[in-house]
């Protein structure tokens, strides 16, 4: 391929990648602005617009994948522009099209398009119909931004979009107390773990002077090479692992996931069965060369991943509702995927992510009609399918099984430990400080006995 062809190819890839990012963003604007000014679009137009956005994004990603495949997936850096610059600091928007990002965008946009088609029917005449699709397109924009990011700054922006859309969809049925509490729990977990990503960004900027991944590692994915000293790689990778734990619901930050199923079924499928739950895995796959240079982080990741998988497998086995079972099943697989990343099995992890996401989202989408499916199966078989007689658990002594059962019922004591030793003490300290503030203000503003009583409201500002 000569230089002219290279340039043409670069421009075509740049155009396609830009559209992959812009398609859901433009759709978001198209349905969000009318809703904000009190003129929401009709249901049919909304789903068609969203469908068109994701479908064209998917087709653009497919075309990019074909072009990249012809060139052996050599990475293409797309410079979208500089948002602003002050002194030596410039906020550039760089995207990367390579063997990791483009297959992932195909999978993301394709899945979003399918869920859009499902949700258009499922949420018909639901009061929050437009709200759901606004959040779905916000999520799609965030996913594509995160996946295509060429720098940790752009990745963080996408990461935040995913977090807020996930939170708002968990609390979609805002009139339900459980939904609101679950949304707050998820947001709190995300926010705490986001400290890892933000601080990693700060460390990266300080170490190499920019947030570009090019400065951190080089080479064609999955054979990247770390370009920073081992100490920097260790610090950054530990912070990234911390950030990934929250989004991927790993121990000790897994308590939010089963509760997140309070949201509408289509969003549960795409977020907690498919895409959001794997955002942490994507982050670590993208920055895998840093993990290569930091064995401590890798082994920590393996330990956490396997620990979470075991925890979720045990706890999931005693769940009594389908969505909770599926949530724990997702958690188990997410744990195994992180362990695979820790062991350096990059391609295996990517294939695992995609296959698990497709299977799990299908299961969650079918979950409202699970009984119907089971009856159909029973009718076809001429009786109940029954339960497998072979189970690993039967090989364990009864005392161990009873102990495991107790642990599983208490959800591994994970939440009670976190609540008792972390959340409650912090809240107690803050509430004590707040009460002290109120007492102090009361003391300063205390009215001497001789003072006249307050006059009626003449200002109207305070009621």
């Amino acid at each position: 391929m000569n230089a002219t062809d290279q340039t043409v190819l670069h421009h075509v890839v740049a155009l396609l990648v830009s559209w992959e990012l812009m398609a859901p963003a433009v759709t978001l604007g198209c349905i969000g602005v009318p809703a904000l000014i009190g003129r929401p679009l009709p249901e049919r137009l909304t789903t068609r617009l969203v469908g068109a956005g994701f479908t064209t994004g998917f087709l653009a990603a497919l075309a990019t994948l074909t072009m990249l495949a012809q060139r052996g997936f050599a990475p293409e850096i797309v410079h979208l522009g500089t948002m602003f610059s002050v002194g030596h600091h410039a906020a550039t928007v760089d995207l990367v099209a390579d063997g990791l990002s483009i297959p992932y965008v195909c999978f993301t946009t394709g899945l979003c398009a399918l869920v859009n088609a499902f949700a258009g029917k499922y949420l018909h005449r639901e009061p929050g119909f437009t709200r759901f699709f606004i959040l779905l397109t916000l999520f799609g924009t965030g996913m594509n931004l995160m996946v295509l990011a060429g720098s940790i700054d752009v990745l963080f922006a996408g990461w935040e979009f995913i977090g807020i859309s996930s939170t708002l969809l968990i609390g979609f049925f805002h009139e339900r107390r459980n939904a609101v509490n679950a949304a707050l729990r998820a947001f709190g977990t995300y926010r705490i773990c986001d400290v890892g990503l933000l601080t990693a960004g700060v460390v990266v900027h300080r170490a190499v002077g920019s947030g570009d991944f090019e400065q951190l590692f080089s080479g064609v994915w999955p054979d990247g090479r770390c370009l920073v000293p081992a100490t920097t790689a260790l610090i950054v990778s530990l912070l990234l692992v911390f950030a990934a734990l929250g989004k991927s619901a790993q121990v000790p930050f897994s308590g939010w996931l089963p509760r997140a199923m309070e949201g509408p079924t289509p969003s549960s499928a795409i977020f907690y069965g498919a895409l959001s739950i794997h955002a942490g895995a994507y982050l670590l796959l993208r920055c895998e060369p840093l993990l290569d240079a930091a064995p401590l982080s890798r082994w920590l990741l393996v330990a956490i991943g396997i620990g979470t998988a075991l925890h979720a497998a045990v706890v999931g086995s005693v769940q009594t509702d389908l969505k909770s079972m599926l949530a724990y099943a997702s958690m188990t697989q997410a744990g195994i995927i992180l362990a695979e990343i820790g062991m350096g099995l990059r391609v295996v992890a990517l294939v695992h992510v995609i296959s698990h996401a497709i299977l799990r989202s299908l299961q969650i989408l079918r979950s409202p009609s699970a009984m119907h499916d089971r009856h159909e199966l029973a009718a076809a078989l001429g009786g109940h399918p029954g339960q497998s007689r072979w189970s690993l658990i039967r090989l364990l002594p009864d005392a161990v099984v009873r102990g495991l059962y107790q642990v599983a019922l208490e959800r591994g004591f994970e939440e009670s430990v976190v609540q008792r030793w972390i959340v409650r003490p912090v809240v107690a300290v803050l509430e004590a400080a707040s009460a002290a503030e109120r007492r102090w203000v009361g003391f300063i503003g205390a009215e001497p006995a001789a003072d006249v009583p307050p006059r009626p409201d003449r200002d109207g500002g305070a009621s």
Binding site: A35, L36, G38, T82, M83, F84, S85, V86, G87, H88, H89, A91, D153, F156, A157, E160, F161, I164, T167, G171, H174, E175, R176, A179, V180, A183, L184, F187, G188, R191, I192, D194, V195, T199, V202, H205, R206, L430, E431, A433, S434, E437, W440, V441, G442, I444, G445, A446, E447, D451, P454, R455, P456, D457, R458, D459, G460, G461, A462, S463
Partner: protein, 481 residues
């Protein structure tokens, strides 16, 4: 004086005088005027004049214009980048308040006090004269105190506010007096000028609500009229005073400013953390405002344009977004009374558009991507990397706590079973217009920040050229005066 300068000066005068004229008209012709139309016309004229000032300053090549004597090192009227930035900002906040204010709030004496406060704030943003600053501090404080005192149950808050403001004014007046008596720009000056600088710094800490002098700040939001609280706090007159009297980046950073910025960082984290456990919407707003305004002060101690730009961007973004949250809370209160957030209030069904606006303003105050605060946080964290890494980490901590506080507030306010037994309160057109405009400013500047950041860079550059006005400056090594 050329035509452009004449126009600029006339615009500044109009900007300050219009709200004052509106206040006088409402005071003496109150029965014959519609309070909303009169106040909106006055603030609208002021806003147009403020925009004119900004445009003229830009056309004039960003040159600083000064008028009046250089008594005590300050100019009676100053029109530089900071003034050109802050006048439209303050007028926008005032305009939004006047448009959203419930009819009951405008039909009473509160409106003229509000306009007097707005006029005093605008006047302050266009002067660098120490005694003018002291006088305007007194004017804004008095106007606020009268408003709080006139509110039902507001006497305790008025007393708290009075204690803080008297202390601040005494420190400010004494500090200014010392600075004037021992002019630091003269050779041989020393101790008195230094002491004056420190007293001004203490005054700024009190007036800004910086720990440990912060208690009046959330109390004002809880016990005072919300409009008064917003008009008093959002312009950040104390920050402006610090810029005019303490900032002297050309020679290094004043020791007072370093202490101020460190205390401000602690305040930013403390306020955001306490905001996460507040029990009513107003105290949440007060704590958030305290935290965000402290962040501005923290950034002003930087000596790089990046950090200064970040501080200025936070000044604007936090002011507009917190004004938006305050106005949403006020609109909700005008429909159903004071709002607690320790339990789920279920207001979504009652006011879905207000819920949407609260969320958008909340996100815009949190450094959410696509909003001006994201740009501001990026600048302030990037700026602090080169000089003060722990500051950047504290900013991150404050952002995390503020995020949890805002989302908890939103979910508790709007989530949960419907508790208000009333038909849906549709958002009023004037409320929608004001809130949509504020949201549009925050998101447009966040999505297309280039020109705005460039303008901020000019302002930051002009601040970096300011000579130190007093001698307690920490000189950089190898850079003798």
């Amino acid at each position: 004086m050329n035509t452009l300068e004449v126009v600029t000066l006339a615009a500044v005068a109009t900007c300050v005088a219009a709200p004052l004229a509106g206040a006088l008209a409402l005071r003496f012709l109150g029965q014959r005027l519609d309070p909303r139309i009169a106040s909106a016309a006055a603030i609208g004229l002021s806003f147009a004049a403020a925009v004119t000032v900004a445009v003229c300053w830009q056309w004039g090549g960003g040159r600083t214009l000064t008028y009046g004597s250089r008594l005590a090192g300050g100019d009676l009227v100053i029109i530089d980048g900071l003034t050109a930035l802050l006048l439209p900002y303050v007028a926008t906040v005032d305009m939004a308040i006047v448009l959203v204010a419930p009819r009951r709030a405008l039909a009473t004496t509160g409106v003229w006090r509000l306009l007097v406060g707005a006029s005093a704030s605008l006047a302050m943003m266009s002067t660098a004269h120490p005694w003018a600053l002291v006088s305007l501090w007194a004017a804004t404080s008095l106007s606020t105190w009268l408003s709080i005192r006139g509110t039902l149950g507001g006497r305790a808050t008025a007393r708290t506010y009075a204690v803080a403001m008297v202390a601040a004014l005494v420190c400010m007046a004494a500090g200014t007096g010392m600075l004037v008596a021992d002019p630091p720009w003269l050779a041989g000056s020393g101790t008195l000028g230094t002491a004056g600088g420190w007293l001004v710094a203490v005054a700024v800490m009190i007036r800004k609500g910086i720990v440990p002098f912060h208690s009046w700040y959330p109390a004002l939001f809880c016990g005072g009229p919300l409009a008064t609280a917003l008009v008093t706090t959002m312009p950040q007159v104390a920050t402006y005073t610090a810029v005019r009297l303490l900032v002297g980046h050309a020679d290094g950073v004043a020791a007072e400013l370093v202490v101020l910025s460190q205390a401000a960082l602690v305040t930013a984290v403390y306020g955001a953390a306490l905001a996460a456990v507040q029990r009513d919407a107003r105290s949440l707003l007060g704590m958030l405002a305290m935290s965000q305004s402290a962040m501005v002060m923290a950034g002003l101690a930087g000596t790089l344009p990046t950090e200064l730009c970040g501080a200025l961007a936070i000044w604007i973004s936090s002011g507009l977004s917190l004004t938006g949250i305050g106005l949403v809370v006020w609109s909700l209160e005008s429909r159903a009374g004071r709002i607690r957030i320790d339990t789920l209030q279920g207001r979504f069904a009652d006011a879905p558009m207000l819920a949407a606006f609260f969320l958008l303003f909340g996100l815009a105050s949190l450094g959410f991507p696509g909003t001006l605060s994201f740009v501001a946080d990026d600048l302030i964290i990037s700026g602090s990397l080169d000089e003060r890494l722990p500051s950047g980490l504290l900013v991150i901590a404050a952002t995390v706590f503020a995020g949890i506080a805002v989302m908890r507030g939103w979910f508790h306010l709007f989530g949960g079973p419907v508790t208000v037994d009333a038909p849906q309160h549709a958002i009023l057109p004037r409320e929608r217009f004001a809130l949509t405009t504020l949201v549009a400013i925050l998101f447009v500047l966040g999505l297309w920040p280039g020109p705005f950041v460039h303008a901020l860079e000019n302002v930051a550059a002009s601040l970096l050229l300011v000579r130190a006005p007093h001698p307690s400056v920490t000189l950089p090594a190898g850079n003798p005066p």
